[in-house]
Point group: C2
Chain length 489, copies 2
């Protein structure tokens, strides 16, 4: 019925018709957060973009298994000078426990994602919970002679792999260029080539997280968890792998290499990458000092912010750009998003009150069609929003009796607007700042008006009655030169 | 300053002064949920009881690491007649994935616990994430000759252990009695004695969750995860182990045996067990058909419930009983808890408005002292609640000008009531039903009164102004025989 969904595949650098390997099932893996700090706008973008994909695929009737990992195998270290022996003597409870840090930031991440109205993934596997699978994958790669052990660590042999397969097929990087561009880093002495990457690292004494293996007490390399966990929950070959563009190389390139080296299977049919968020055109990052956490957006508590921005404003802001475009942060852009979001929510409310007419003076079907066309064209959410703004215009015109809709068109408008706004874009009314407060503000404006009228008419009984009743429910009125103000006690 | 905290230790069957092994640190491990179903009142009780312990220990200044596990290694099976080969042929995405079930029920458990205002534990380790630690513990027990392999499984040798140590020290069970009371169960043929328990089970073909080991592809025994994970995060010997009384035997008894057999260390200093919830005096359980989930309580959607009961009502109900007493569920008991909770919240609100007097007509210090005495006497929350009801009485009397408090006493009352109600008992105002609506209701009562007065005085301009402004903010007024009613549009 609908035209086919087309997605941009980073692997082919083209848009391709989306045909899942095993319909109606769809397997989707997205690189999740490293839970050693608070989530920022970049985390929000990746999570919202793939939430949009998840929601739309489900809307189309696919049974989606959406796996998003939690990277909890980190690099927390004890003080460099406190070696193994010293640590062993300390009571376990006195030590820094990485898992306590993991729990803290995972809880905060989940809370932020829920506020942004992102659906929970089907499975959220943790790297630390899949060490066995990762060790097994290293064994498979070693069996195929595409990795080597060195001083208790295991490295992927990129050059040898590249002779048989193609290291660089996703990112377009050329190995020769890489060879001349690598710097000397920690552990380089153990490697055959500087661009070889670790599958297993022997733990230095100061490393807290470590597991036994036949090579050493150590921990898995960063790229490995995604290969091992996607294969475990989605199979050796699955439909969609998503993530931020910054993960394209070396992370995703190395994921392909690992899976091919272990299973001789190209793991992913469609690679989807969301673009970055910039601040005044610059990359956002901790080191650049232009880094704002989601909590800071929600509270407005950051010197670069002129005010607080609600989770739904952030969501609207992110969906207003296509996921493959860069998105520049500014207070003005967020203010515009806030206005747009509020117009949507108001229209959603107005829509419930509209009355049908015998005839329609305006067409609704093209809006519905445009929304589907936009989503089917590589999840083009800004085009969906543009069409929904046209719907908002019609809703307001019908409300103002400037346009009319018959029953069928009104129902179509209601369904289209609520399905695309709510189910697919994932926008919802916000409690607190939204409806509740505007009702309270409106009521208080009325009550203070009535009190002023009573005073003007020298009806002091009514004026006193108002003050007493307000005081009883905890509202204090203050008379100032500019008029009466009020606050909750 | 305060008298010392005394806790009932199941191990000694006595109350003992609480002296942590490594102050100011406290390590506490509590058996968490098996996430293959929704949480019920029993889960709520255990979580609330140990949340109370966690909150009070923190209030006393201890640095508590609170570990509560998630049992996600379960017994989900494919159809019995679909063997290994048939499964291997199916696409991974078409298979039932236990981790998807785990994610679903873990999310719901977290949501329920947050509604009950339980603090998040410091670490929530999952059994499936600690297979390596469990296998290592089995190796240690095998090295000490207190377990044996049989047909790919590994069993704990209870009789041999009992010759060296004491199997039954926690539960008081006697091995000879156990020997004559065991039935023939699955896998009994592989065991030397029927009461031996599995440390590792070889997976049958229909078992989905399985990991490689030198004995077989299989999964760890149920008791093992708690021993391995508590040792990993709290050390081989730690302060408090909590859980429901139903876990005393064989689960906790076997935990002790495993730790002693692996490390020669009695793992826990204080064993704390909460008692069960009964329904009309009967044990609650799925098989008895008297099983109500927390979601059903919150919605009221269960034939045994006369109405919905809010999370704070459930919390109040549970805290009204001492944790070592049985607690009988009934609608009447919950209604009483609801009333009690509402009196507390009203008093909390009234407390903010009280005015100090020059002299006090009533003493506050004994209330504070009674609260501490009660908590220090093995976390006696019902005694705390009784003292706080006395505080409520004073708050209301001062509000009614029947009693007076000087500034120091008023401050002491404020601090005692808010610290014990909020920080320690973990009770908080509920949104929706609580403050928000009472303000709205109060304002609307005032506005409708003013409108009636205007109508009576034939001041139709004011009456119309009120109706218009209400309509603008989405409130519809209906005039009925009984007077005007209103609703949000």
């Amino acid at each position: 019925m609908e035209p086919k969904l087309v997605v941009h595949n980073t692997l082919s650098r083209r848009k391709e018709v989306f045909e899942p390997i095993n319909p109606p099932h769809v397997g989707m893996y997205v690189c999740g957060p490293t839970v050693y700090g608070d989530a920022h706008l970049g985390h929000a973008r990746s999570a919202i973009v793939f939430d949009l994909v998840f929601r739309y695929l489900q809307h189309l009737g696919y049974k989606v298994r959406y796996v998003r990992n939690i990277t909890d195998v980190g690099h927390l270290e004890n003080d460099a000078d406190s070696g193994e022996d010293k640590i062993a003597k300390k009571a376990r409870l006195e030590q820094l426990e990485p898992m306590e840090v993991v729990q803290y930031f995972t809880d905060r991440y989940h809370s932020d994602m829920a506020k942004l109205n992102n659906l929970s993934p089907s499975i959220e596997p943790r790297a630390s919970g899949h060490i066995i699978e990762q060790i097994q994958m290293i064994e498979d790669i070693l069996d195929n002679n595409l990795a080597y052990e060195s001083e208790g660590s295991v490295y992927f042999d990129v050059e040898k792999y590249n002779r048989q397969y193609h290291y660089g097929k996703l990112s377009g990087r050329v190995l020769d260029d890489l060879m001349s561009n690598t710097r000397d880093l920690d552990g380089q002495g153990e490697k055959r080539n500087p661009f070889d990457f670790a599958l297993w690292k022997k733990a230095q004494p100061e490393h807290i997280m470590r597991w036994p293996s036949r090579w050493s007490k150590g921990f898995p390399g960063w790229h490995l968890e995604c290969s091992a966990m996607s294969a475990r929950y989605l199979g050796e070959r699955f439909d969609i792998h998503g993530g931020g563009m910054d993960l394209l190389f070396p992370h995703h390139e190395s994921e392909i290499a690992q899976s091919v080296a272990a299973n001789d299977t190209d793991p992913v049919k469609y690679w989807l990458h969301n673009n970055m968020i910039t601040v005044n055109g610059q990359k956002m990052g901790k080191s650049l000092g232009n880094f704002i956490t989601l909590g800071e957006f929600f509270s407005g508590n950051h010197p670069s912010l002129t005010q607080a921005f609600s989770p739904m404003t952030i969501r609207f802001f992110i969906l207003q750009a296509h996921y493959r475009s860069t998105l520049d942060f500014s207070n003005d852009a967020l203010l515009a998003a806030e206005k747009g979001y509020e117009r949507f929510m108001k229209a959603l409310n107005t829509l419930t009150k509209l009355q049908a007419s015998p005839v329609s003076s305006v067409e609704v079907e093209p809006i519905r069609q445009n929304c589907y066309d936009a989503m089917n064209d590589d999840f083009n959410s800004p085009m969906v929003i543009a069409s929904l703004f046209e719907a908002v215009r019609i809703i307001n015109s019908v409300n103002d009796k400037k346009e009319t809709l018959n029953t069928a068109d009104l129902n179509l408008l209601r369904e289209t607007f609520s399905v695309f706004t709510g189910d697919i874009l994932g926008l919802k009314p916000e409690s607190g700042s939204g409806a509740d407060n505007s009702v309270l503000d409106g009521l208080m404006q009325l009550v203070l008006d009535l009190r002023l009228n009573a005073k003007t008419a020298k009806d002091y009984a009514t004026a006193d009655k108002i003050r007493d009743q307000l005081s009883k429910i905890g509202i204090v009125v203050k008379d100032t030169k500019e008029g009466a103000t009020w606050e909750m006690n």
